[in-house]
């Protein structure tokens, strides 16, 4: 029984104390015999807040700590560390959630919220009074990682990891690496074509430490951090060897389909290649008619009967770099679907395909209107994708070099950080800006060969202007790319529908799933620089585990009381990970737990007929005492 407990009630800078009377909570729990000290503090997670715990442990010789603050998902680790530094076992600590579960949901009833907080904190004290000292389970970790997605983020993370000596499996669902950046015309800030930006990464990828699987998808993932088993299906490329006449083979191919790489603005053949890596063409078997023309040219380099293969790999950690997909406007949204109305990614490709002259649909383009925030900052997507303003102005500046006049029809401009100069340049280059409000969006109508964009311009006090242009570009934001893997790994999504980090400031590249990290635009919209930085961050974070050689798992595993065990073996059958087996101890058969395999679900404890099994950290006597405390009059 822990009888010298310290309790700390956090104000959270008003987040809690504006609703809950924290002083009253401290006073109420201070009356519990086992509580030696009960204080409130403005920010428990701050350094001075943590110091308070450390100092009190020594000063009052404490043997249990309760912090009542935000969700343990945010700061449990923070406070456990403080408890450790104070010289105590970190697991005789309990965090009581009086922010998310009290002050934020009951802000209109401060009196009841305070009562509730008192009960919850008392329950926390009850739990700690029976807490056992626990220690982490040490697991060996091999330096192997799986990176999913080989766009900028995936390649950056893979190369960084490889340079640190980690063996990397890099899985890309397309037959070529590069993702969206490979399509960029002149990626800002230095204005290099996207395919050139990644050239260096591609060279580094050939280092030998990276095993690249293209045309590959993850079928299943089992296991957990330090020990993921991943099954991958590799679709055939049908191009199996070298040939110096691929160009000719592509020419001979009779099948023409829309070229996704060029956003459907051009056609490609069923055997095709994009300027990234691998430098081998691939055959899109869905559109191939198996006429064999390419085989006549390249012979054994092409095998139209190549089969899919299944590859099983092991990885200690997984980095998600699945990226984004651009928002596709709805049919009719600002005239989308009509000729001459295209999206920003399409405009990028149009620029890339221009040869000193911008043409669309066979006609030269002179005037372009950009409509900003299409699909963004509305009920469907409340967020702003941030990168699109700069990308659009950057594209308009590049188009200016081809003699294009541009008109920017915007709601607000966010060319933040280093990119303010682009906005200035746009003005210097006589680009015209018209501002609209969401309640009077611009309208696009077609008149003969021209498109007319009508806008009620807020910069001229609501004057209505009609701008004749050759091309309308809808500036679209980012959505999370689709993938089956999110569900397999059970990664939580953020409010904006991207993958959710554990904490935006404290753990910005980790997810709730141990050993699963996020890099790039699968986390949120990002520009090239931010993507690269987050990928390097994820790689560095992964390396902290991978290079140490071991990791420590939380100690919350099943514990079997051999005295009570009646050898019924119900738990053996109930365990999802085969962690329990029967063993002879002192002449009788009892169930024993393998700590490295135990996931800590407690299913065995729930099914045991004689309460011989407890889950560490959630002992039944603790839970019962909590129930008692919650109902105390």
């Amino acid at each position: 029984m822990r009888d010298r407990i310290g309790v700390y009630i956090c104000h959270c800078g008003g987040n809690i104390s504006d609703v809950v009377d924290v002083e009253r909570v401290a006073e109420a729990v201070g009356k519990i015999p086992e509580v030696v000290v009960a204080r409130t503090y403005v920010f428990m997670c701050s350094d001075p807040g943590q110091k308070l715990i450390e100092e009190d442990i020594r000063k009052y010789d404490l043997n249990g700590i309760v912090v009542a603050s935000c969700s343990p998902h945010l700061h449990e680790k923070t406070f456990r560390s403080a408890v450790s530094r104070g010289g105590m076992n970190p697991y005789v600590y309990e965090q009581v959630n009086i922010r998310e579960h009290v002050s934020w949901v009951h802000k209109h009833s401060p009196e009841e919220a305070t009562e509730k907080a008192i009960r919850l904190v008392k329950a926390g004290v009850a739990k700690v009074s029976l807490a056992r000292e626990l220690s982490e389970i040490r697991l060996d970790v091999k330096p192997t990682a799986l990176v999913i997605g080989a766009g900028l983020a995936g390649m950056r993370a893979a190369v960084d990891l490889a340079k640190m000596g980690v063996d990397v499996h890099l899985v890309e669902k397309e037959h070529f690496v590069g993702g969206w950046i490979a399509k960029g015309y002149k990626a800002y800030p230095e204005g290099k074509p996207g395919s050139e930006v990644i050239r260096e990464l591609i060279e580094e990828m050939k280092s030998g430490k990276i095993r690249l699987l293209t045309g590959a998808e993850v079928l299943s993932v089992t296991g957990s951090v330090g020990n993921f088993q991943v099954r991958i299906k590799v679709r055939p490329r049908f191009v199996v060897g070298e040939c110096d006449r691929f160009e000719e083979a592509m020419e001979k191919c009779p099948v023409e389909v829309d070229d996704e790489f060029n956003e459907g603005l051009r056609k490609r053949k069923a055997i095709y290649q994009i300027p990234t890596y691998p430098e081998l063409p691939a055959i899109d078997i869905a559109s191939c008619n198996r006429c064999g023309e390419c085989v006549k040219v390249c012979g054994e380099a092409i095998d139209l009967n190549q089969q899919s293969e299944v590859v099983d790999i092991e990885a200690s950690m997984i980095i998600m770099a699945t990226g984004f997909k651009p928002y596709t406007p709805k049919e009719g949204e600002f005239g989308f679907g009509r000729k001459g109305i295209i999206t920003l990614p399409q405009f990028e490709r149009l620029l890339a395909l221009s040869n000193g002259k911008l043409t669309y649909d066979g006609r030269e383009v002179r005037d372009v209107a950009f409509i900003y925030c299409v699909g963004s900052r509305n009920d469907e997507h409340e967020y702003c994708s941030r990168y699109c303003c700069t990308a659009t102005i950057n594209a308009a500046l590049a188009a200016k070099e081809l003699g294009i006049r541009s008109y920017h029809i915007y709601r607000d401009i966010r060319t933040y950080g280093k990119y303010e100069t682009y906005y200035e340049d746009a003005g210097k280059n006589r680009m015209l800006f018209f501002r609209f409000t969401p309640d009077s969006p611009p309208e696009v109508r077609t008149e003969g060969e021209k498109l007319l964009v009508k806008v009620r311009d807020q910069l001229t006090f609501g004057e209505e202007v009609e701008i004749p242009v050759d091309l309308v570009v809808l500036v679209t934001g980012m959505e999370l790319a689709e993938s089956e893997i999110y569900g397999m790994l059970k990664i939580p999504f953020s409010r904006d529908g991207f993958l959710q980090e554990v904490h935006p400031k404290l753990r910005p590249v980790e997810t709730a799933i141990g050993g699963v990290l996020i890099a790039g635009t699968c986390q949120s919209p990002k520009d090239v620089m931010e993507t690269s930085a987050s990928a390097s961050a994820a790689a560095a974070k992964a390396a902290t585990y991978l290079l140490k050689g071991y990791t420590e798992l939380e100690p919350f595993i099943a514990e079997i009381d051999a005295e009570k065990c009646n050898a019924c073996e119900d738990c053996v059958a109930e365990c999802p990970s085969g962690a329990i087996s029967m063993s002879e101890i002192g002449g009788s058969k009892v169930a024993v737990v393998n700590g490295a395999l135990c996931r800590g679900c407690g299913a065995c404890a729930g099914i045991c007929p004689v309460e011989a099994i407890n889950l560490r950290g959630y002992y039944y006597d603790q839970l019962r005492k909590m129930i008692d405390a919650l109902l105390e009059v």
Binding site: E100, V105, S109, K490, A512, I607, E611, M626, I627, L630
Partner: protein
């Protein structure tokens, strides 16, 4: 009668949903107490009964559902078995089955958590205090 007292055993994902509810400043009955557990499959039927005997008017077992990070799909089946057993024990003690609620609550299922808790409170108000 006073507000019915609700105990929520919140598994990993349901706990996150409760956090999210806070973040969204949602509202649910004040006399709701959330106890965090990793997974609802650890709930011994006897523990649920204990909560009633001590005076909780309702117990809401908020499992992670098929999103359970420990058991995945099989969480629902395992937890259901515990609940079935608890119903049997309740019957023997004359505790109305409506006082025990189980639902899968994913990490973003704020609506499920909040909505079910509100409904649960209505049900419990109709039933009156738990028989002890």
């Amino acid at each position: 009668m006073p507000e019915p007292k609700i105990l929520i055993f919140a598994a990993e994902m349901a706990y996150r949903a409760a956090d999210q509810a806070g973040l969204m400043k949602a509202w649910y009955p004040v006399a709701t107490y959330i106890v965090r557990i990793p997974c609802t499959s650890m709930l011994r039927p006897e523990l649920i009964i204990y909560a009633f005997e001590k005076g909780f008017d309702g117990v809401f077992v908020a499992s992670s559902g098929p999103d359970c990070p420990f058991l995945g799909e099989s969480c629902v089946g395992k937890t259901s078995q515990r609940i079935e057993k608890a119903y049997e024990l309740m019957k023997g003690r004359g505790i109305e089955p409506e006082r025990l609620l189980m639902s899968g609550v994913c990490s973003t299922c704020v609506e499920t958590l909040v909505g079910k808790t509100k409904e649960f409170k209505e049900t419990l108000s109709r039933l009156g205090p738990v028989k002890r």
